[in-house]
């Protein structure tokens, strides 16, 4: 089991933070374009789900899987979007994403008065806390290289 990468988008679609761990394939476009594509995909999936759902949608999109990876999604009511790609054996990571929001993002980014909200997170503290947290997850086991 492993974690590939993690994206954090604000509600305007800016990618505030990106980190990767065991990612083995790049899409072959610039990071900027990749973020736009990812946000666009999430946005369209949400709208797709809203329309096609036979019942009233509450949380909406949770995750999707392909033959190789699983994409997990969590959105706060304030429109912050957290995306984590893992391999297929990882179960529900909603708690993990919620923790990233409430204990890492809120504590180290929102409460830091000097960070401009809506801009790329440059805080080293956030980066290292995030890295430490993800590496400590029970399903984070880098493949022997």
């Amino acid at each position: 089991m492993t974690v590939y990468d993690f994206y954090l988008f604000d509600r305007n679609g800016n990618c505030l933070y990106y980190a990767e761990w065991n990612r083995r394939k790049q899409p072959g476009i610039s990071k900027d374009e990749e973020f736009k594509l990812m946000y666009g995909m999430i946005f369209s999936i949400k709208s797709f789900i809203n329309r096609i759902s036979p019942k009233d949608v509450q949380d909406g999109f949770l995750n999707f899987r392909t033959s190789k990876y699983k994409l997990h999604f969590y959105e706060t009511p304030s429109g912050l979007k957290l995306v984590m790609n893992t391999d297929l054996n990882v179960g529900n990571v909603r708690d993990v994403l919620q923790h990233v929001f409430s204990s890492l993002y809120v504590e180290h980014v929102v409460k830091n008065p000097l960070t401009e909200l809506g801009e790329t997170i440059t805080s080293e503290l956030f980066r290292s806390k995030m890295d430490e947290y993800v590496r400590g997850l029970p399903f984070f086991a880098p493949k022997a290289s």
Partner: protein, 180 residues
Amino acid sequence: MSRQAARTGDPRKVNGELFTLTYGALVAQLMKDYENDDEVNKQLEKMGYNIGVRIIEDFLARANSGRCNDFRDVADVISKVAFKMYLGITPVVSNWSPAGDEFSLLLENNPLTDFVELPEGHDSLNYSNILCGVLKGALEMIQMDVDVKFVQDHLKGDNITEVRLKFIKRLEDAVPVGED
């Protein structure tokens, strides 16, 4: 997760009076700098707005409440959860408009105004106007455009402090660049 446990045992409580005094000093300084009550109101609202857009994330992280889809739920959460959490008071929700898009928060004792007596000639100053900004900023972050203003203020001789919230519209999610 582990956060809740850390919260309850938080020893870094700020003295309430220090908070009230800090806010008082801030307003007093603004009044000196701007010499115009309307301008001070505006500045206070701006500061509040900046607090609101951040505090909402902290609120969501701590309160763990879902999305409100009705203005009545919003009123409830603001008074019973948010005011309780940050100011230690529970304002009364009342004076609903018939269409259910407007209500008032009645503050019996406003912690911001302890020790405050407004000097003469400042009838248009809304001393606690920062609250309006906070509410507006916070609600805007959860896709609600709301108009917030003081309609009665204890400091001006009214019986009660009343903040009026009016729902204007629902804001939509941002569409990715290049699409429309």
